[in-house]
Symmetry: none
Subunit: 416 residues, 2 copies
C-alpha cells in the first residue's frame, strides 16, 4: 500500500509557516507499516490543488491532505476535491447541525461564513471535528482514497487518531503486520552520547529500528518494531527496553512518552507529598509544566516566581543580607528560597531555581548559563550550582527548569 | 517565472525530521518576487527522485533541490539528476581538488567515500561549498533550471545566498517586482469574524493578498504585497494597515508580529510601571510568557502561582473567609489576589487570574471555562468574570492568560 501526504495553504507554500503536519502524519502512517512515498504542498489555488489530487489519484492507494477547510474565502480544498473527483458540492445537513451545535455550545452566534463549511463533495464521508468548526471528509479520487483534514495541528491530530487511522488499519487486511512503537525519554545525555551508548542495538535486535530525536531539552529514543507475530514482537520489545535501561540507567525518565512533569507528579502523588516552587530565571516555566498535568492541584501548591530581589525577601523571607553577600544567583540564596517557599506553603518539598538565562546579566564569575538549584525536603536541604549554556534565553530557561525537575525526580525515586 | 522546491531524504519522507529547508527557500524566493508554486518531498530512491525532477522539468522555470549530496550510499541525488537530464556522471577534477583541500585544511585524512562527491552530471555547473564537503551544482532538465544543494541547513543557506540567488536575480531581468509582507496580530475575534470585518480588502487594494492564520489564541492577519514600484507598494501597504486598523480597532495588538508579552512589556517600560501577577489556573503561564522577553526583569517583579487556597492566604493575604464565602474562582477572591500581590511586590499593577481550566473542577454554577480576572492599579481595581471554554486544559490556560494580558494592555493604552 502506497501513501502520499499533501499540505495546502499559501502560508506553507510561501514559507511563512513550516509544515509540521506532513512530518507528523508521515511518522504515524509509516508506524502502521505503510510506505509514505511522497509529500506535496500547494497554495490556496483550486486549480493547483485539483491538479495535485488528480495526479495522486493515479498513483497512490491512500492519501491524507491538510488545510483549506476553514470558513474563509481562501479555504478552497472542498471545491478542488469535488472537481478532482468529478462531483458537485452539496450542503450536508448533518454537518450544518454539527457546526450550529459547536457555536450554540459556546453561546456564540454562528457567522454566515461558517455555513460554507457544510458544503462537501457529493459522496464524501464526513469526519467529525469535536474541537473546531471545520469538519473533515474522505473521498475517492481515481484509484486512491483521500482523507481531508483541517490544517490546525491539534484538530488534525485528533481527527487522524480517532477517525482516520482505524479505517486505514481496517483497509490493510491480511497485509497487516504487527507494529509496536516505543518512546523512551532521556535527560542528561547529548544526542551523540545517547547514540554511542546504543550502538549495536539494531544488530542485536533485528526487526527493531532505532530513531533518536532531540526534543530539547530531552532526547527521545524511538523504537519501531515490526513482525508477523504480535506476541513475539512484544517480548522482543521488552528485551530491547531492558537492554537500553542497562546502558542509559536513570537518565531514562519515562518509558512511554510521559512528560517530566507527569512523572514527577505521579511520584509526588504516590509518596503523598506536595510541592512548592520558588522560581527566578525560569519565570514560571516549571509551574506551567507542572500544572499542564490534569489533577496537579492534588500535589502542586504554589510557585513564587520571585523575579525581583525585593520579592525574594517579601514573599519568601530571604534575608536581604544573604542576597547582598552572595548574590541572587548563589547556592545560599537558592537554599533560602527553597526553605522559605516550603515553609510558607506547608509543602513536603520546596524546590528553587535562580540563574542567568541571558542574553544579559552574566559576569566573569557567574556567566550566562549559571544556575543554582536547591531542594528542601523533610529530611535535608541540598543546594547545587551548575553551568550550562545554550544558544538562547528560551533554551536556557527550559534546560534550567528540566534540571530542577530531574533533581526532584531523583530525590523522589530515592536516588538523590 | 514559476519556481518549485524539492526536499529529498528518507528522514524527511518518513517524518523523522521536519523539513524546514523548503520553508526557508520559499520565503527567500517569494521575497524576490517569484511565485513558488509547489513543494515536493521524496525519499532516497533514485527512481522517485528522477520522476519528480522530470515532472518539474516539464512545468517550472526554476527549481531548488536540497539533500542527497553527501558521501554515503543513500546519497543518490546526483545519479537521479543525471538520469533525468539524460546525461552521464563524470568525475569533476576541480571538485575533487576542493574536497581534498577541505580535508587538508582541517588536517584530516580524506575518506574514500568522499571521492563520490566529485561525480557530477556532465554539463553541471559547480556550486562551491565553503563550509562542508558536499558541493552543489546547477543543471537544466527539460525547460527548467535546477539548483541542487546540500540538506544541512547552514550549508544550504550559505550556498543559496552567495551563489544561487545572484544568478536567479540576474535571470529575472525586467520582470523583477517589489515584494512587501506584513503580519498584524489580533486577539478577541474569531477567524471568521476577522474575515467578515476585512471583506472587500482585496477589491479595495489590488496587488495586496490577504491571508488569515489562527495561531491560538490569537489570529494573524497576513498581508502579501507585490508591485513594480517599491515606494508605491510601501505607501499602499500603509494605506491597507490604516484600512484594517479602522475595521479591527484595538483588537489589533501588534503590527509587526510582536508577541502580546512583548507589547505589554514595552508599554510597562514606557509608562515606567512594574507588574506583579497572582496566578491560579494559568499556573505560571503568564509569568513564563512575560519572562520570555529579554530585559523583562526591568518591569516584571513577581508572580505568585497560588494553586492551593492556603497559599492564596499565606502568600497573598487573601482572607480565608473570602474564599469560603465566594469560592476560589470569584471576582472577590481575584480582586483580593490582585491587590495582595500588588502590595507585597510594591508594583504599579497587580494582575490576577483564577479560573477552572478543566477537565475537572467545574460546577453547574461555575462550569469549566469560568475565569475571574482582576487588575489592581494606582487609581482603581477592577474585577471581571468571563466564561470561555475551549477543547482542552492547555487551550483554556492559554486563553485565560491571553485575556488577562489583553486587559492589562488595554489599561496601559488608556482604553481600560
Amino acid at each position: 500500500m502506497i501513501a502520499e501526504v499533501v499540505a495546502t495553504g499559501d502560508e506553507i507554500r510561501t514559507g511563512a509557516l513550516v509544515d509540521t503536519n506532513s512530518a507528523w502524519l508521515s511518522r504515524k502512517i509509516e508506524a502502521m507499516g505503510i510506505t509514505v512515498s511522497r509529500h506535496a504542498c500547494v497554495g490556496d489555488d483550486p486549480a493547483a490543488i485539483t491538479g495535485v489530487l488528480t495526479e495522486i489519484g493515479d498513483r497512490a492507494d491512500i492519501a491524507v491532505v491538510t488545510g483549506g477547510l476553514g470558513p474563509t474565502g481562501d479555504d478552497l480544498t472542498c471545491e478542488a476535491a469535488a472537481r478532482a473527483a468529478g462531483v458537485s458540492l452539496e450542503l450536508n445537513a448533518g454537518v450544518l447541525d454539527m457546526i450550529r451545535n459547536y457555536f450554540a455550545g459556546r453561546k456564540l452566534p454562528m457567522p454566515d461564513s461558517n455555513r460554507k463549511q457544510a458544503l462537501l463533495p457529493r459522496g464524501a464521508a464526513v469526519l467529525e471535528n469535536p474541537v473546531g468548526t471545520a469538519p473533515g471528509f474522505s473521498l475517492t479520487i481515481g484509484r486512491c482514497r483521500f482523507w481531508f483534514m483541517p490544517g490546525v495541528p491539534f484538530e488534525m491530530k485528533r481527527m487522524f487518531r480517532d477517525q482516520v487511522r482505524p479505517i486505514i488499519d481496517g483497509m490493510m487486511g491480511p497485509n497487516r503486520r504487527a507494529h509496536l512503537n516505543r518512546t523512551l525519554s532521556v535527560f542528561g545525555l547529548t544526542e551523540s552520547a545517547t547514540e554511542d551508548r546504543l550502538r549495536g542495538l539494531e544488530q542485536a535486535f533485528p526487526g527493531i529500528k532505532l530513531g533518536l530525536r532531540a526534543k530539547f531539552p530531552e532526547i527521545q529514543v524511538k523504537l519501531y518494531g515490526a513482525g508477523s507475530d504480535r506476541e513475539a514482537l512484544s517480548n522482543q520489545m521488552r528485551a530491547v527496553e531492558a537492554w537500553i535501561a542497562h546502558r542509559l540507567g536513570d537518565r531514562i525518565f519515562s518509558m512511554d512518552g510521559e512528560s517530566m512533569a507527569a512523572v514527577v507528579g505521579r511520584l509526588l502523588r504516590h509518596r503523598k507529598a506536595t510541592l512548592a516552587l520558588a522560581e527566578s530565571c525560569t519565570g514560571g516555566l516549571i509551574a506551567n509544566w507542572m500544572t499542564d498535568v490534569p489533577g496537579s492541584s492534588d500535589y502542586f501548591l504554589l510557585s513564587a516566581v520571585t523575579y525581583a530581589n525585593d520579592a525574594k525577601s517579601a514573599v519568601l523571607g530571604v534575608s536581604p543580607g544573604t542576597i547582598i553577600r552572595h548574590g541572587a544567583v548563589s547556592v545560599e540564596t537558592a537554599t533560602a528560597m527553597a526553605t522559605g517557599v516550603r515553609r510558607i506553603a506547608g509543602a513536603t518539598y520546596g524546590l528553587s531555581v535562580s540563574g542567568i538565562a541571558g542574553p544579559g546579566g552574566g559576569t566573569a564569575e557567574k556567566p550566562v548559563g549559571t544556575v543554582c538549584i536547591a531542594l528542601a525536603g523533610p529530611v535535608a536541604t541540598n543546594g547545587t550550582q551548575v553551568r550550562l549554556n545554550f544558544a538562547s534565553r528560551d533554551m536556557n530557561k527550559s534546560m534550567f527548569a528540566m534540571k530542577a525537575m530531574d533533581l526532584l525526580r531523583r530525590e523522589l525515586m530515592g536516588q538523590g
